[in-house]
């Protein structure tokens, strides 16, 4: 199985998230985990972040993706896709970022073991 080529990360579990081409061009793809996470693609690079804006409860997957950042459409809070750091108020708390690999056109994400997923 191709996932074997991915190194294990302690405290995290690799899971197939989606097909790479299922991620929309200008927004994210929200995954049905708890807490929810979202996959973003920017300039052929793939990212996975917690989906919920740390300013208020809203899905970052619905946001605008450009210049290496995702902007929440509600109040324009902006987060660095690489680090999860807030780039613009009203957000002041980072969102968690998660390791990502693409194997054979599929996106795999390593989520903390505490995250609930549907099997």
């Amino acid at each position: 199985m191709s996932a074997m080529t991915i190194d294990d990360i302690e405290g995290r579990t690799w899971r197939r998230a989606c097909a790479l081409d299922a991620v929309p061009e200008d927004e994210g793809l929200r995954l049905g985990t708890l807490p929810p996470v979202a996959v973003f693609v920017q300039d052929e690079e793939v990212f996975c972040l917690d989906d919920t804006c740390t300013h208020d409860t809203y899905s970052l997957a619905e946001g605008w993706v450009e210049d290496g950042a995702v902007e929440c459409t509600l109040h324009l809070a902006k987060f660095d896709l690489r680090t999860g750091m807030p780039l613009r108020p009203p957000a002041s708390v980072p969102v968690a970022v998660h390791p990502v690999k693409v194997v054979d056109g599929d996106v795999y994400v390593a989520l903390p073991n505490a995250y609930l997923t549907k099997e």
Partner: protein, 450 residues
């Protein structure tokens, strides 16, 4: 309490009291009873190609957002935050996923539902019911051949019934091409200090002004007396004017489908229309293609011309001012050089600096200036041209028509205006219309083929 307007216009005798163009109380009543109850143009589909695309426009003086939804439909809502009334979206047009008021950050989805209030837990103790505080929705939006119209009225007839016989004249322009029309991007906006009815009524009912008002523009365009007898200025060419349901359309009859006037632009458009006339004839029929285009208004304030390819809304701004919002329309399938020619021809003629446009604006602002006078506002205007010479369903053109040089559409425009301003319900208006049609004396008249 509605101001009585019955004494101010008398469509049956062709009298208009000019107070209707200058009085603030009448204007306020128009916002409620005319603009609040009529179908108003919102947008053309080509302005909203993708989900989340929106334009901001006005229904009367009320700002509305017109938005392409995720399911492809188009919805509209009042662009006013329910918290303190700020404009929810301050852009003229764009693409969005949500709309957030810049004042306190209340956020709405593409339908205008309130989806977020900042600090909902601390500030509102989670006691606000967001479902009750969405933006005010335009309850009815109708799509007609790519054009979107909306009304606040739950009672107004369905849009096609509201159009009535005007559909025949509207289709002549918007139904010509297999793949329809599109708007050239962007809205041209300018202000004219005049009452909105001067513009709406003229586009419904008035080719009569052209030979006088536009003489100098004609000379500026082409310095050749032979050209000055051109179709729009022809007193010798047969033509008809339609009036019905407050709408109006007038056109001279052409011998051949080549219009628009090639001197407006490079001639590429006229040549392309002539080369593709079979498509036009197949879609709207040869008679209609040759006899309908001209000047047009859908009541109350959406107008277009068939030759210079302009469409516009006359947004009212008080009794003495309008904002003109205009678009150049082009056949979607036309080649780029043809679209460029259409833009050029329309810019030269009917645009903020267009030669004919500025003639019209000069007349309307001057009339409005004169109406500052007390005597002037208590005078009586004559709208009697062709009175009593209307015919119904003649020359293959549906509805009530008259000679191209008449004011049938103007009288119809003021009749519908007065119906609405009197506070009559739409069902009462429908009954009245049926009575009027039944009692109209059918006197056969010859068409004025001079």
């Amino acid at each position: 309490m509605a101001t009585p307007v019955s004494g101010l216009v008398d469509p049956d005798r062709g009298y208009v009291n000019p107070a209707i163009y200058a009085d603030q109380a009448i204007y306020e009543q128009e916002l409620e009873l005319v603009f609040g109850r009529s179908w108003l143009f919102l947008a053309h589909g080509s302005q909203l190609p993708n989900r989340g695309d929106f334009v901001q426009t006005y229904m009367g003086e009320d700002p509305v957002l017109v938005v392409r939804q995720r399911d492809g439909s188009v919805k509209a809502f009042l662009n006013q935050c329910r918290h303190r009334g700020m404009r929810i979206c301050r852009s003229d047009e764009g693409t969005s996923k949500t709309f957030t008021c810049t004042y306190h950050g209340w956020a709405y989805d593409l339908e205008g539902n309130l989806i977020n209030v900042p600090l909902e837990d601390r500030a509102y103790r989670n006691e606000i019911d967001k479902s009750k505080w969405g933006a005010l929705k335009v309850p009815r939006v109708a799509e007609y051949k790519g054009f979107y119209f909306g009304t606040w009225s739950e009672e107004a007839p369905e849009f096609e019934e509201y159009l009535g016989d005007m559909a025949y004249y509207f289709d002549a322009v918007v139904g010509r091409w297999d793949n329809g029309l599109e708007f050239v991007g962007g809205t041209s906006k300018w202000v004219i200090d005049c009452n909105w009815k001067f513009a709406s009524e003229q586009f419904a009912s008035d080719i009569y002004h052209a030979q006088s008002s536009h003489a100098s523009a004609l000379m500026a365009l082409v310095d050749n007396p032979a050209y000055w007898a051109g179709i729009s200025y022809q007193s010798q060419t047969p033509g008809r004017q339609f009036g019905g349901n407050g709408h109006g359309a007038g056109s001279f009859w052409s011998e051949a489908l080549g219009g628009p006037d090639p001197t407006y632009g490079t001639g590429d458009y006229a040549a392309w229309v002539a080369a593709n006339k079979d498509e036009v004839f197949r879609n709207v029929g040869e008679d209609r293609a040759l006899r309908v285009a001209g000047h047009n208004t859908i009541f109350p304030n959406f107008s277009w011309l068939g030759s210079p390819a302009t469409m516009r809304v006359w947004h009212p701004r008080g009794p003495g001012q309008i904002e003109v919002w205009a678009w150049t329309y082009v056949p979607k399938d036309a080649p780029e050089e043809v679209k460029a020619d259409i833009r050029l021809g329309t810019q030269r003629t009917f645009s903020p600096a267009g030669s004919f446009e500025t003639d019209d604006g000069e007349n309307w602002t001057e009339i409005q200036q004169v109406l500052r006078g007390w005597k002037a506002r208590h005078n009586t205007f004559n709208a009697q041209m062709g009175l009593g010479h209307e015919e119904r369903d003649v020359h293959g053109q549906p509805g009530e028509t008259n000679d191209a040089f008449s004011e049938t559409a103007a009288r119809g425009f003021y009749r519908r205006w007065a119906d609405l301003m009197s506070g009559l319900s739409w069902s009462e208006i429908a009954e009245l219309d049926a009575e009027r049609q039944a009692t109209a004396t059918a006197v056969p008249q010859e068409v004025r083929e001079v």
